[in-house]
């Protein structure tokens, strides 16, 4: 008798996010919703100049205001907590959570106020008087490298945070570079493309700014923290270390988190300060970031200058690539700051088999907000530099941009493919992705459409970009925090399933995707599965959500733990059903013997039995709760191809995106609807970078685009309907075959929009345009072309 499937298989289905109803209805609990009796509010006095020595700091008026509990200066705070730690093995200057003598960027904290409410706290901040001796602001990146107009940190001459490191062909384990092969490649080239490109600074702008509640309980000697973070377990470890507490004395909770985009990986001064202040005063304190603060006090993204040289034959076969990277990291090293541009080096091959590559990297301090991870973190920059160079090569040789890429792909039979940059691409079929995208977009027809539009005088262009990403970040050798993820799965007495994951979703939809997997694994309804996350007291261990790793690493840990529970449950069910455990089937809420679906026991009854096991089967402990750690042996490498069509207004220079086709291969998909949502979000941010987003500083180091009135965020009206197509090349790195998709959208879209815009303006002789593609910038190219 055939089994009737009552419960559908959920993995692979377009299930709507379970998280959304509560979030849409305003029923989520964010940090700002946390209220504790006696809670005080803290606010920061921040530097309004980019560089200066504090000559006078008068907090007396602020302290005397009614409702002010305390005011701490940097010097006072320095007695409570250690200097800020970083998470990378690079040299770093002393960084105090609150500046002690010198301020180095607009937004750096100089004092903190503790008061009974936010209004009093803010009034007190305004009452603090600071006098600075201004120092020259270091703003221009390449000038900064000469130590001009000032040196920001005395121990870092010429503002060099990280002296040049090299990687690629001919670089040995000690980092010593032998340039013979790269020089030969360029000597043999018929054509060399050289271009300076800026991958500009961006402001992450999560919808929910940061925030923290710290509650130190002197009676218990323990600290509980709620924070809008992507990784509560890392927060716990770092805060414990900073305050000299044991990790067991600190509980960190990430409640609902309204987006992070990488900027909530870093553990911030405000988190350490809140914890220290709560401990010092014995009072719970809350800090909620204002939007104006978020623009300057939350880390920025990107800001890498690349000098790109590409050597090729006249047939378009690439012989060599030189990538000289200079990263503007702002005023300090934060948690992962120094490591982010190394990912740009790591991905210098992009999707291509390039015989010789030399990548170098220098990191430079400037008087700007520090940079750190931002959606894609180093990989969009690599994709951008290489793809732009490939476009320039195609244009130079008058070869179709698709064709020039086809001639250089890493062949699909070469995987796993070890690049000379140190990556091992797990699986891929780049030519297929290109072909699928060309077919989906109707590439030849689009070209005809473009040419017809040009005949009417319209400025229309096409762009195409390949990308390969590094996701599913692990193993521990590649991540100082540890490159694993942890999970615990419990079948409760009533047959409901509680699963705790060390992943810390903040918009990724893991409460849905993880439940889909467990519901399938145990043959129970989705509603019977609860996913817990973001609380170190509930989830014993964890790393967190970043690097598109939740599904690939966290999801695998979860099904591993699930498999362990299931195996134990089968041991309880076997004797009840007088069957061998290997013959049992979990389906439709029933555990039955294979081939005898009506013989079964309900899942719930077996669960109850496991908790009151009379009799207790030989060799079994009661209960159904197991955990697992999963550490992948390698990262995953999702890939894809994006195609766009852009029209530029000849009179105004305004670019308009007419069409965007994205073919993305993220491996096995658990929930295509959520995957599409992730891609849409990534595309929005990638297109935003290309067209409108830009952190612009003036010569004094003031952020000119420091509010939503001036910093343009992409809106739905900026986009055409995205045309998506999924391709599935499973990864061998984890049993799910899933690679990760959180960041992918930002990789292909950005260079492909720039390519399309350059193509649209080709008649004016332009070969490359730096982002953002501001109308005035394009208008000037059009004007210049006429002159």
């Amino acid at each position: 008798m055939a089994t009737t499937h009552v419960l559908p298989k959920l993995v692979g289905q377009r299930i709507k996010r379970r998280e959304d109803p509560r979030l849409i209805q305003g029923r989520g609990t964010y940090v700002d919703d946390v209220k504790i009796v006696g809670m005080q509010h803290i606010a920061f006095k921040r530097s309004d100049i980019a560089h200066g020595r504090i000559r006078r700091l008068d907090v007396s008026v602020a302290k005397a205001l009614e409702g002010v509990e305390a005011v701490f200066t940097g010097a006072q705070l320095a007695e409570l907590i250690r200097p800020m730690p970083i998470g990378t093995p690079f040299p770093s200057p002393t960084h105090r959570a609150i500046a002690v003598d010198v301020v180095r960027y607009v937004g750096e904290a100089v004092a903190v106020v503790v008061a009974r409410d936010r209004y009093v706290a803010r009034d007190a901040v305004d009452a603090i008087v600071v006098e600075y001796e201004p120092l020259p602001a270091v703003v221009d990146l390449e000038r900064a490298m000469t130590g001009q107009p000032a040196v920001i940190h005395a121990d870092f001459p010429n503002n060099i945070a990280l002296p040049q490191i090299a990687s690629g062909t001919g670089v040995d384990a000690s980092g010593k570079a032998d340039d013979t092969k790269i020089d030969q490649a360029f000597a043999a080239a018929d054509v060399v493309i050289s271009q300076r490109m800026v991958n500009q600074r961006l402001v992450p702008n999560a919808m929910e700014p940061r925030g923290v509640v710290a509650h130190y309980e002197p009676g218990k000697g323990s600290l509980t923290m709620w924070s809008s973070t992507q990784n509560p377990h890392i927060l716990r470890s770092m805060v414990a270390g900073m305050l000299g507490l044991g990790e067991s004395q600190v509980r960190a909770i990430a409640p609902e988190v309204g987006g992070g985009f990488g900027a909530k990986i870093n553990i911030y001064a405000e988190e350490y300060v809140a914890a220290a202040v709560s401990k010092a005063l014995g009072l719970p304190v809350k800090w909620i970031e204002e939007r104006t603060e978020a623009f300057v006090a939350t880390t920025h993204g990107r800001d890498i200058l690349g000098y790109v040289d590409l050597a090729a034959t006249k047939d378009g076969k690439v012989l060599g690539l030189k990538l000289r990277l200079i990263a503007d990291i702002g005023a300090y090293n934060m948690l992962l700051t120094a490591a982010i541009p190394t990912l740009t080096m790591l991905m210098a091959n992009a999707t291509y088999d390039i015989p010789a590559i030399r990548a170098t990297l220098v990191e430079v301090f400037t008087n700007k907000t520090p940079t750190d991870a931002y959606r894609g973190a180093g990989r969009p920059e690599a994709t951008y530099f290489v793809e732009r160079a490939m476009d320039m090569l195609a244009a130079e040789l008058r070869i179709d941009p698709a064709e020039v890429r086809r001639r250089n792909f890493i062949p699909s039979d070469k995987f796993p493919y070890a690049t000379q940059m140190g990556a091992v691409y797990d699986s891929g079929d780049y030519e297929k992705a290109l072909d699928v995208a060309l077919a989906a977009a109707g590439w030849e027809a689009l070209k005809a459409e473009r040419d017809a539009a040009r005949k009417q005088g319209r400025l229309v262009g096409l762009g195409l970009s390949m990308y390969v990403e590094v996701c599913g970040v692990g193993p521990s050798a590649s991540l100082p925090t540890g490159g694993w993820e942890h999970a615990q799965v419990t079948v409760e007495r009533d047959g409901r399933i509680t699963a705790a994951t060390g992943a810390s979703p903040h918009g990724q939809g893991n409460e849905t995707t993880f439940a889909q997997m467990l519901a399938d694994q145990f043959g129970v309804p989705l509603e019977h599965v609860t996913i817990l996350h973001g609380d170190t007291a509930v989830v014993k261990q964890g790393i967190g959500t970043f690097g598109s790793r939740s599904q690939a690493v966290g999801g695998t840990a979860l099904v591993m733990a699930g498999a362990r529970v299931k195996a134990k449950m089968a041991k309880f069910a076997g004797p009840l059903l007088e069957a061998h455990e290997a013959d049992l089937v979990f389906e439709n809420g029933i555990i039955s013997v294979k081939g005898l679906p009506t013989s079964g026991k309900s899942f719930k009854d077996v669960a109850s039995y496991a908790y009151v096991p009379v009799p207790l089967p030989e060799g079994l402990e009661p209960g159904l709760s197991e955990e697992a750690f999963f550490e992948p042996k390698n990262n995953t490498y999702p890939f894809g191809c994006h195609i766009s069509m852009v029209e530029v207004d000849r009179q105004t220079g305004e670019p308009r995106l007419l069409k965007l086709v994205a073919v993305d291969d993220a491996g096995t998909l658990i929930n295509p609807l959520i995957v599409e949502g992730q891609i849409h979000g990534g595309l929005a941010q990638g297109i935003g970078q290309a067209l409108i987003e830009e952190a612009v500083y003036d010569e004094q180091g003031q952020l000119l685009t420091g509010s939503f009135m001036d910093y343009a965020m992409p809106r739905a009206t900026d986009f055409p309907r995205f045309e998506l197509q999924a391709m599935v090349t499973p990864t061998p790195v984890n049993p799910l075959g899933a690679k990760g998709v959180g960041e992918a959208g930002t990789l292909g879209s950005t260079p492909c929009l720039v390519a399309a815009t350059v193509d649209a303006l080709r008649e004016f002789g332009v070969k490359h345009i730096d982002m953002s593609l501001r109308p005035e910038k394009l208008w000037r190219i059009i004007q210049g072309g006429r002159a």
């Binding site: 606010a43 936010r118 209004y119 706290a121 803010r122 009034d123 305004d126 204002e290 939007r291 104006t292 009179q651 105004t652 305004e654 067209l691 409108i692 612009v696 000119l704 685009t705 939503f708 009135m709 001036d710 910093y711 343009a712 965020m713 809106r715 501001r774 109308p775 005035e776 208008w779 000037r780 004007q783």
Partner: protein, 286 residues
């Protein structure tokens, strides 16, 4: 983003609002949609001790036909102007301009009177109000007075309005052959340059034209040289092109910021003047 402390009260009528303003001795400010005032308060650039809310005063809301004129209450939100069938039919330029203000959130909260009183140099309404030769009806302690749009906008964020006065309504004779064209600032969606144009056409000849620009300078202003160039000319591509090409030539102070240099803004005035006039022409023949 934390304002200083303030008191809040709601006025029940225009007379009540005026009385409350007067009683506050300059400490109070009016609030309707709050889309200009609240951001300033959050940045502590404006620190009123009291807010008098006029958003729900019935006599300040709504769009009415009064004889051959249209009257729009000062507290009418942009969305209502953008979607009013009366405006769409009788004065489509105004609906067009209202529909391009900011974003849906702004359009559903921000009001006509608030926009005019605040007089942001890049706001859309002022240019439109200027070319419609609208009258602005104001009530204050001394009673009602009527101000011509042409004399209302004085300078940067400065209009002919006493702190104790309330804008009640705007009145104008609707015109179909008019257009508004705008270059959007891509963060705020204010106008980098916005041009409104009205054409009075008879027998294919422009009897008179009214053209005004916003976004370019300290405040919205008429482009009289363009108006003169069009007056008496046959309406065709050439006359529009010729008139538009001198748009902005007489404007002494042109803004420059991170979004657009003075050079670019100057270059865009003729572009958007032409577009506005072409829209007006298209509507005149429709």
């Amino acid at each position: 983003m934390i304002p200083t402390g303030f008191e809040y009260e709601r006025a029940t009528s225009v007379a009540d609002a005026v009385a409350r303003l007067r009683a506050s001795n300059g400490a109070a400010k009016l609030i309707a949609g709050g889309h200009s005032l609240v951001p300033l308060m959050k940045l502590r650039l404006s620190e009123p001790g009291r807010l008098i809310d006029i958003a729900r005063i019935p006599e300040l809301c709504g769009i009415r036909q009064v004889g051959d004129a249209i009257e729009i209450g000062a507290a009418t939100v942009h969305h209502d102007v953008a979607t009013s069938p009366l405006i769409a039919t009788r004065c489509p330029m105004l609906a067009e301009a209202a529909a391009e203000i900011g974003d849906p959130q702004v359009r559903n909260r921000g009001t006509l009177g608030g926009s005019l009183a605040h007089a942001d140099p890049s706001a859309d309404y002022p240019a439109v109000i200027l070319v419609l030769n609208a009258t602005i009806h104001i009530v204050g302690p001394g009673g009602e007075r009527v101000v011509q749009a042409a004399t209302f906008f004085k300078d940067l964020l400065t209009v002919d309005l006493d702190p104790q006065e309330v804008i009640v309504s705007v009145r104008f004779k609707p015109v179909v052959s008019a257009g508004y064209a705008k270059l959007h600032q891509r963060a705020s969606h204010y106008a980098i340059v916005g041009v409104a144009g009205v054409l009075d056409i008879q027998g294919g000849v422009v009897r008179s034209a009214c053209v005004a620009v916003t976004g370019a300078s300290t405040h919205a202003m008429r482009l009289s040289n363009v108006e003169h160039a069009l007056a008496g000319q046959p309406l065709n591509d050439e006359s529009i092109h010729k008139a538009a090409s001198i748009a902005g030539a007489g404007v002494a102070v042109v803004n420059a910021d991170v979004h657009a240099s003075e050079e670019y803004r100057r270059a865009m005035i003729p572009v958007f003047t032409k577009r506005a006039l072409e829209k007006a022409r298209a509507r005149s023949s429709a």
